[in-house]
């Protein structure tokens, strides 16, 4: 992260710009082509949100589905605790993750299990602050730069590093995106990323019945709130006492020490509660 920041600060560019430049150099494509390729992915994300937000049907397993619809009805009643920005993000994150559970088409950001967080915050920013699709596409470049460093230094799969590596990484990326879209500096964005990741360190991957549904969908939803809180702290000028690079390194160490039972094997955590075991028996009998 420090080398990304020195690059951004020396050249006076955003994290998103730095990523577009690096990608166009490496892939030997024009900046425009790369931008359009990313925008296509944003549109796929939008389609998943649209498909999921009004679909009340259950997933094939019968253990999830219909909650995005409930969230929408609750928001429409106009008396939410968290306000329209956060509840909107919660609704869209849920819509995407429910679409994923139905084996619908989604964009992994960075993984399918954590695909709800980024579309959640992005499309709520669009609704509430009028961000254009081009601005949101820039947000995806910011996210990819942050995720690129996390993925190469640590991990992004629950099987390798627990849910901290999936929803943790997605939330950390989302926090940086919000800061940059809101006009914060690259350094503030990286502090936002660090603070979000610290909040989810140690989160285990314990899907009930091995399905990416319980507790995955709601963790994506909650991830959006953590991303906004971390971004607000960063935009206030608050810094992470532990530098982002060291937080990422910590995520790697914690994940490496995590027992196999808590890394997507469904052999521990919520998966082995009486209810979790009951669902598993019912599903596979």
């Amino acid at each position: 992260m420090e080398s990304l920041l020195s690059h951004c600060e020396a050249k006076n560019v955003s994290i998103a710009d730095a990523m577009i430049g690096k990608e166009s150099e490496k892939a030997e494509m024009t900046r425009e082509d790369i931008f359009h390729k990313m925008k296509d992915r944003l549109i796929k994300m939008q389609e998943a949100v649209e498909a999921g937000k009004s679909d009340g049907s259950p997933a094939p397993s019968g253990i999830s589905g219909g909650d995005a619809l409930k969230m929408g009805e609750y928001i429409d009643r106009g008396d939410t605790l968290s306000g329209s920005l956060i509840t909107g993000a919660m609704r869209y994150a849920m819509a995407t993750s429910e679409c994923n559970a139905r084996m619908g088409v989604i964009v992994a950001t960075p993984t399918a299990g954590s695909a709800g967080v980024l579309p959640g915050i992005l499309f709520s920013l669009r609704d509430n602050d009028n961000y254009s699709l081009d601005a949101l596409t820039n947000g995806l470049f910011t996210a990819s730069a942050l995720g690129y460093i996390i993925a190469n230094r640590s991990f992004i799969s629950g099987a390798a590093g627990g849910c901290q590596a999936e929803v943790g990484s997605a939330t950390a990326m989302a926090a940086g995106v919000i800061v940059e879209l809101k006009g914060g500096t690259p350094r503030q964005a990286v502090h936002g990323t660090a603070m979000a990741m610290k909040s989810l360190l140690g989160l285990v991957c314990d899907p009930v019945g091995g399905l990416v549904e319980v507790p995955c969908i709601k963790r994506n939803v909650i991830g959006t709130s953590i991303a906004f809180s971390s971004a607000d702290m960063a935009l206030a000028g608050i810094e992470s006492r532990i530098p982002c690079d060291e937080v990422i390194e910590t995520m790697y160490r914690v994940g490496s020490e995590m027992p196999r039972t808590l890394r997507e094997t469904s052999l521990g955590g919520l998966a082995t509660t009486p209810t979790g075991e009951g669902i598993k028996r019912k599903l596979y009998s």
Partner: protein, 173 residues
């Protein structure tokens, strides 16, 4: 550096529910299909290890691997129905579950596919690393390291493989 592009992080575009258990698995299956000369296998024996073996049903890992073997990409909505499609096409497939770690590769998401199409017969070992990225670590008992992103052109990767990897004397599937 496993992840080399911004599109490895924002992507792939895929059917759910898991990038490592569904999209990465589809890639390994699809690579095997390419290795068979873009032919659907008549026979396939697929061994799932560790996390793949524990959670394949919920993640549709079996559907994704088989869908890939039938030539489907990770974004193909027919993956959902891959088991039925394979049965309709009279493909003799089976899954073996090894709940322990794969003896060839230290990672929870590993599979070994043995498949046959006409006179062609291949054995492919693959590991799914998350975010849709995977590695092929074994081709016909020769160790290798081939990085697969869902965006890659699998056919040209197969065309560049050394000849010794493509010969396999063992006939049993």
């Amino acid at each position: 550096m496993e992840f080399q592009s911004c599109f490895d992080i924002i992507g792939p575009v895929m059917v759910g529910p898991s990038s490592s258990h569904t999209a990465g698995a589809a890639s390994i299956g699809r690579f095997t299909y390419e290795l068979l000369g873009r032919c659907k296998p008549e026979k396939a024996r697929i061994t799932l290890y560790d996390s793949f073996a524990q959670t394949y049903q919920g993640h549709g890992t079996d559907k994704a691997l088989l869908g890939g073997l039938l030539g489907m990409g990770p974004e193909d909505t027919r993956i959902k129905d891959a088991l039925a499609i394979a049965s309709d096409e009279n493909i003799d497939y089976s899954f073996l579950l090894e709940k322990d770690q794969c003896p060839y590769y230290d990672h929870p998401n590993t599979t070994i596919i043995v498949a046959e199409a006409g006179y062609r017969h291949v054995k492919v070992g693959g590991v799914s690393l998350g975010g849709g990225l995977s590695h092929i670590f074994l081709i016909n008992d020769a160790e290798t390291t081939i990085r697969l992103s869902t965006d890659d052109d699998f056919r040209s990767i197969c065309n560049r493989l050394p000849l010794y990897m493509l010969t396999n004397d063992k006939r049993e599937v």
